[in-house]
């Protein structure tokens, strides 16, 4: 089955291939590396240069790919973005794009070891360079510490050591396995004709779709809060706090948990922003994020190193207030409004529409926008208190300035 989002709203047609299987830590390195190796050479395009020239000649079509983890699934997303063929006045553009994608994934009778080694080293450099972004690095470290021995704590791009250990022989074997066993789903969106859909089915006869429980139920008992402090030559302290929140997508409390997070630190009207940033000027950014596939919530912030203790205290107080005092109807209404606005706005983004469609199909539920809004409207302040009862502080991770 091919998912179709037919709309004349956008100037592009997106053809997205999603390859999924249950995530295994020892396959992360391969799955992250694969999209780059596939670009180096195909049966038809003899090198990276020819491959990229072809994309340029398709009116600057862009081919993007990334590998991520959604719940317990490892998904390789490959997306070709084409100018709407009617705007480019080029009727064959869609078909050319489709064939190009097929060649990219399947046109590999052979691989070249030199190309493989080059791409491997480039990826290692990229993985290592991620440490330059201290905000992101500090978050990765929080997950590693908090979810040690859990799938969630593993670095999805694979570590330097895992990549180094991956051999050419293993790669070729894993590619064969990937072709045979990953399930391929296709999403088409934009001004797509029935002919386009039929053509896609002919070019990719192996596309299918199956709903499954992909939520990550792995968790641990939390008895004490772990605090980790590391230092680096930076000028601002990164303060991250992880909480267990055992409420997942589809749970009756799920929408209340989303609103709990929104009111705490999801928006500019939220308590962390108003108190930590605006009232005490302790930071420039402070936000909370709720991951409903895993059942955790985390707060991340960059704070003035000299006033770190105050920042910790104010954040703790705000979290405690959310968990013990009933939120006002007015405050809750603001969070609902912001959330509903986001839902509507995401209908204006081609990428967001695709993601929503994909996740809904995986869950086997396809509520309409109106139904989703109605669910949000029904949440009460007491529902948020119930969510607060389940929140458990797990780990504090600090990337501190050198003192």
């Amino acid at each position: 089955m091919i998912l179709i989002d037919q709309t004349k709203k956008f100037k592009t047609v997106l053809i997205t291939l999603k390859f999924k299987r249950v995530a295994k830590v020892d396959e992360f390195a391969f799955r992250t590396l694969l999209p780059s190796v596939l670009r180096t050479k195909t049966n038809l395009y003899k090198n990276r240069q020819q491959f990229n020239e072809k994309l340029e000649s398709l009116y600057g079509a862009s081919l993007t790919s990334n590998t991520n983890k959604t719940g317990i699934l490892s998904i390789i997303h490959v997306q070709l973005k084409l100018v709407n063929p009617t705007l480019a006045l080029d009727a064959s553009l869609f078909e050319e794009g489709l064939n190009f994608l097929k060649e990219y994934i399947y046109g590999h009778n052979t691989f070249n070891e030199k190309d493989f080694e080059l791409e491997k080293s480039l990826l290692i450099e990229e993985v290592v360079a991620k440490e330059n972004d201290k905000t992101r690095f500090a978050l990765t470290r929080l997950f590693e510490e908090m979810c040690a021995n859990e799938l969630y704590g593993a670095r999805v791009s694979g570590t330097k050591a895992q990549l180094e250990a991956l051999t050419f022989k293993q790669f070729k074997k894993m590619y064969k396995d990937f072709i045979q066993k990953d399930e391929l789903q296709i999403i088409l969106s934009g001004d797509v004709t029935p002919e386009n859909v039929a053509l896609t089915q002919r070019v990719f006869p192996n596309a299918s779709f199956s709903a499954m429980d992909f939520l990550d139920y792995e968790t641990k008992a939390v008895n004490t809060v772990t605090e980790i402090v590391e230092h680096d030559k930076i000028s601002q302290t990164k303060l991250n706090i992880g909480y267990r929140l055992p409420i997942r997508q589809g749970d009756p409390k799920h929408v209340a948990a989303v609103l709990f997070n929104a009111a705490l630190g999801g928006y500019v009207h939220s308590r962390l922003f108003l108190n930590v940033r605006e009232k005490h000027s302790l930071c420039y950014y402070v936000s909370s994020v709720y991951d409903a596939y895993k059942g955790i919530m985390f707060i991340y912030s960059g704070v003035d190193a000299k006033r770190l203790d105050l920042a910790k205290k104010v954040i703790d107080e705000e979290v405690k207030r959310m968990c013990t005092e009933r939120i006002s109807e007015k405050e809750l209404a603001l969070s609902k409004q912001a959330l509903i606005n986001d839902l509507k706005e995401s209908e204006d983004s081609q990428g967001a529409r695709q993601n929503l469609m994909y996740i809904q199909m995986l869950l086997g539920k396809t509520p309409t926008l109106a139904e989703r809004i109605e669910k949000i409207e029904q949440v009460t302040p007491d529902d948020l208190l119930e969510v607060g009862k389940l929140l458990l502080k797990d780990t504090v991770y600090l990337l501190d300035v050198e003192r």
């Binding site: 100037k11 009116y59 600057g60 601002q236 960059g302 706005e345």
Partner: protein, 432 residues
Amino acid sequence: MEKVYYAHLNETVYQHTLANGLQVYMIPKNDFHKVFATFTTHYGSFDQSFISPKTGKKVNQPEGIAHFLEHKMFSMPDKTDAFETLSKFGVNANAYTNFDRTSYLFSGTKNIESALTYLLDFVQTPYFTVKSVKKEQGIIAEELRMYADYPNQRLFYGLLQNLYQKHPIHVEIGGTVESIHKITAKKLYDAYETFYHPSNMEVVLVGNFDPEAMVQLIEDNQSKKGYSKQDPIQRFMPKEPKAIRTSHAEIEMPVVMPKLGLGVKLTPSSGKEALKKDIALAILMDMYFSNSTKNYQQLLQSRLINESFEYTSIEEENAFTMAFFGDTVDPTLLKSRLTQMILALKRQKHDPVVFERHKKSTLGSFVMSLNSLESISMGFTNYLANGVSMFEVPEIIESITLKDIQAIAKDIQPKRISSFVVMPAKAQKASV
């Protein structure tokens, strides 16, 4: 109200100039849920020196004041915060400051009339006190410290500091922790009164709305405010010499691999001509440095670059730069290879087939950028600074010839090339 339809892109632009000089541009997109609204003043980090229209005297201001003013505009006299009020309408608000402009914006799917009225009102209500300025210095100092930890930001400004001697492009938009402490409420009022006059501003609306109703709303709102006419603002920009400041500089940061920035100072133009040159430069760089080129493959195969390699053109008032950035194991060798490649462009006989392919690709990328209301809005405002309506850009791309490409390549002078390197500093890590 003027209406222009661009058939090839299926886009319509409504334009109207109000009595007080405010320019209004509207691009209706009725199949979208959202409206994206911006209220922009032509005032950015470049504008540190100007004649006050009130006193007729020259004023010099601290670095970072336009950005500081942007932050302070959200404080209202009744002690409320405009950001918060806008979020109460259920819209997402934001603001940003560039080299040459400051924009206040929101996007939303309901209460658009009230939110737009409020946007106009809060941006036209200055309120600065000694206490609130002091408080904001704390927040902005944290913002600047956060940026100070971004190696790519250090690389970008480091390179511009090497290339430009006097032009304010080398000054960070937010200023420095020292310079923002020189900002006072009085200085903010001086800047506000000069640059936030409607004749120096524009409103751009993109999305689902009725243009007639919106222009009426804006007219009614503005006519109540009694703005008197203001003459064009006199700004002072230091005269930038053709020569660069230095050909090389280095700093240390906790990065895992050295980072190289390499730039060429080119001859700037203005208006539509500058935009045309900017696109021609982008095509020239694509022809010789994109991932389908020999140069790119050579650098990659010899392991001097990786996926972080990128190039860009920087086109601002009186400044025009070609720049390359990337992580590299050997900044010295990469610098020398890249320099050879850049200088070779001068004598290169350009392949018309490659040129046409990149022109087509540039056109395609432009059309794809019209996908989101945000990028239409930002792009529209950006091109206006060059006096061009965004939907005329495809014609400009079409008009570019190999001669334009050659002219840019000929402008590359060995003496105007500079490099900036961020070297890894050993960080002391300790777990407690």
